[in-house]
Symmetry: C2
Subunit: 544 residues, 2 copies
């Protein structure tokens, strides 16, 4: 019950069984990587498997804890080792690896779970006065080391008590929620009333609305519903310099838009509290699922680009798997060498070139019909073949499952992690090739790439790299490898991140993305909103 490992494993879903599909996929990866039998030299420290024992006790005085309890209620302040340990890491590969090793670092001194915005204001004002560090906590799904308590202090966890739905405004098509609400709770509420939010990041099941904003994320349906910043109508944030209320109008020309500093601030400027999001009418029966095979990645990308630039409303979900991901996907379904593989080969859709496209259109039925027709025409122009709905239906069923594969794969001695970027179409192929080349320098690494977020001027590229774990020095080797990939992004016109954020993982490269004067301005905003540097110290560019 209090074993940290149980809480980490499977995204923290200790009840979830590894289903036969995942098991099958893992065996396929083992086969591809030439791994036989069980894991090699994989430490699973007793501190992970047994009850957590932290080396250091909470450094907060009794008086401070009493004060915090006074603000949020005595049940809502935790100082036990398990709670503190559980709030010291996210879902980065290195985090999971450290948990396997039972290595805890940057642990908060207490976990505080406010009930209201007023609670949050009291806690922030108090921590500012006492110079106690605060790391705002949503679902804890950061894959960029955004959640570490470098200076101790408190983890401000909004998920227990601060998750009410405040109002649904049908006329304005907006919903207002408390930031600690999880995706599924919000979506269920909306679905029951005929609406959707349309934001489905991979972490959907565990991430909070506040976290969506704080990380400036994008969901799987971003092509149709937009990124989180396109959905946000307005929100409030509690900063050490005071409460900020921003937005809550359809559009404006009133100078600086502070929302674009708070979104993506990953807890370094304040705590996002009350959020108003645009919603849309939703009827699952209107969705149309399509999949298409192309003879080459380049043709698939060209077709995607033409759809995005067609001025016909594009699909809500729009994806392409590159040849390696397509092939591994077919292999997992046993379709690479069977009748499907043979038929595809015969039709000129050859292994190593063929690329699979997925599309889901939603919303108004006539608009869906037009989209499907338009995309079909573009696909045929680029020698693509309609495969019906099967592949997309399968993908949709397993849309959140790949996150569950990581831990069992590590059990089997396989490292799996991801990095993602965004780039204009004219640089896309070049960047894709350069990253693959870098990754493939280690001959034993599989590199599965997809495009999953598409725009008129370009798209993201999402790289999944899979290799055998090293018996020694795994974390250090991996970090070096990881940094190299982001450097290749930057060298080829790609962003450091498309939707994962910065955290502490790519912060050292921020000058590749932002001009020196931009970084200065950003630091000035930090200094103004958080003059004592209590908010998530050490994250982003705000190192001491």
């Amino acid at each position: 019950m209090r074993k940290i490992w149980k809480n980490v494993y499977n995204w923290g879903d200790t009840e979830k069984k590894i289903d036969s599909t995942i098991e099958h996929h893992i065996n396929h990866f083992k086969h591809l990587l030439g791994i036989q039998g069980e894991a090699r030299d994989l430490p699973l420290n007793s501190n992970a498997q047994e009850e957590v024992k932290l080396a250091k006790k909470s450094r907060l005085t009794r008086q401070v804890l009493r004060d915090l309890m006074r603000f949020v209620g005595s049940d809502n302040v935790q100082v036990d080792d398990f709670s503190r340990a559980r709030h010291s890491f996210g879902k980065y590969y290195g985090d999971i690896l450290r948990m396997r090793m039972g290595k805890f670092a940057n642990v908060p001194d207490a976990v505080v779970m406010p009930r209201t915005e007023e609670d949050i204001i009291k806690v922030i004002n108090y921590c500012n006065l006492k110079r106690i560090a605060v790391v705002p906590w949503g679902g804890g799904t950061s894959v960029t080391r955004a959640l570490e308590a470098e200076k101790g202090g408190i983890a401000l966890d909004l998920t227990r008590n601060y998750k009410d739905i405040l109002s649904l405004n049908a006329e304005d098509s907006t919903v207002t929620v408390e930031a600690g609400i999880l995706g599924p709770e919000l979506e269920q509420y909306l679905n029951e009333r005929g609406y959707t939010c349309g934001h489905f990041p991979q972490s959907f099941e565990f991430a909070t609305v506040g976290g969506w904003l704080a990380a400036r994320g994008a969901g799987q349906a971003s092509t149709g519903y937009g990124r989180i910043e396109d959905m946000v109508v307005g929100f409030r944030a509690v900063t050490p310099a005071g409460l900020i209320s921003c937005g809550n109008y359809p559009a404006a020309s009133v100078g600086a838009d502070i929302r674009h500093f708070l979104m993506g601030s990953e807890g370094t400027l304040g705590v996002i509290t009350r959020v108003t999001l645009r919603v849309r009418r939703y009827n699952a029966a209107n969705a149309s699922l399509k999949s298409y095979m192309f003879k080459s990645f380049e043709e698939a990308v060209t077709a995607m680009r033409e759809m995005m630039q067609s001025q016909v409303m594009p699909p809500h979900f729009f994806r392409i798997s590159d040849p390696e991901e397509t092939e591994i996907g077919l292999g997992m379904k046993g379709k690479d060498k069977g009748i499907t593989g043979a038929a595809l080969n015969m039709l000129g859709f050859r292994q190593g070139g063929r690329s699979l496209m997925y599309a889901i259109f939603e919303g108004d039925p006539a608009q869906v019909k037009l989209g499907v027709k338009t995309l079909g025409r573009i696909v045929r122009k680029h020698r693509g073949l309609s495969l019906g709905s099967y592949a997309t239906r399968k993908w949709l069923e397993q849309r959140y499952s790949s996150a569950y594969m990581r831990d069992p794969m590590m059990d089997a001695g396989i490292r799996i992690d991801t990095l993602e970027t965004a780039v204009h179409y004219s640089n896309l192929t070049q960047l894709w090739q350069a990253v693959r080349e870098y990754i493939k320098r280690d001959g034993q690494t599989l590199c599965l790439t997809h495009i999953s977020h598409t725009y008129e001027t370009g798209a993201n590229l999402y790289f999944i790299f899979v290799s055998p774990m090293l018996a020694k020095d795994e974390l250090a080797q991996f970090e070096k490898f990881h940094r190299g990939i982001v450097q290749v992004f930057a060298a080829n016109g790609g962003t450091l991140s498309h939707h994962h954020g910065i955290g502490r993982l790519v912060a050292h490269l921020l000058d590749r993305q932002h001009s020196p004067a931009t970084l200065q301005a950003w630091r000035a905003v930090k200094k103004t909103l958080d003059p004592k540097g209590i908010m998530n110290p050490g994250a982003l560019i705000f190192k001491k």
Copy 2:
């Protein structure tokens, strides 16, 4: 030739004749306001009509002028009274009125016209060193007093030499230009190649791309093409703290997005130089023009809202005239009391209630067809009547002409000005009524209102108010009246401005829109990028 009045009149188009339509419209306004004969007591000072003579000579030393000439070329620095006077005001009603009176204030000491970004960097660095104020100049169409040289210094006019089109990237669907280019030059270049930018503010003929960004504007087709911030892919800005390059990726999650501080900064942070905009394929033949009459403003707004929330791609241009604007429009066309008016009355579209909707769909022909069909269905549901394309075609022909009416109207003793806001649908009618009530307190004021920029959650409201000019104290009375309107916006959930910006006109109300901590953060960015306060001093919140 050097008469300032000639340069101001008719948007500065001294060749343009007042056509019979405008004359007809003006007579109609005179009739409605009960004004007979010619203007009353309208001073047209000799300083306006004759060669300009400024009271004060340029305060820049010969050495400074020589240095500036060295940076930008000797032909590109002007210190004559006419050039300086011409760069001391924009297109706000009060500006035009002051020009009529020959009252010059806040005049720059020189006009500097850089040729390259390198020139701009040299000038800004030099002015920063010497603490010389700089007001960046585009087309000079600000209606918010954004362009005044409060501290003298230089007007940095980009329109003469800094207006090249640098590249059109068909693959990415982007165009990169120098910021001083005017709308028509860019649009003609794009149209010849089968593209459009899609940004058509009322000031289109005279405004620059840099100005579009600096004022964070929205064009008449913003419902389809987006606001300027939706079109901007990336840009560069020269600030006293250094060159900022920002954006130039399809999307990113890399922390703060400084573009949303520079856009809308109205020259207070730096000079926007090189701009990359998204463009779209364009074929004029695909456009479908529609107009509809509704029995009430409320029904028209509901139909517009349902279209925006339908998940079918909405019209690119989407407008509603409120009952008073509808009636005056019909009256100008002589259709209010004739057969059309009678027929409309008979059908229940009665004067005082009836509201006209305009829609233009562009782009893909099948998408256009679907849009027209969907809107037609929604219109019928709300008792609207299709009027064919006539009204919209007429509007399109005269889309920029209302700006040309202002000066001849002032000749006739009529004051005409506009203010605009944006508000969510659930507050829209209330705000509309409150503003009308305020404006109508002066019984002699006509108030024509339209919605011209529409969103899923709300829309703008654009108020045109027309009244007889006062013989005495016109400017002071008008300013008081004007401030009152913006206060009613703020009190009813509206923004201070939807696309006109802030300048010096609504700056005193910024705390109604932004939280104190936001204003502090904004000032910190100013202090960082422009530590000596040389950039457009006194504009926005940056008063000394």
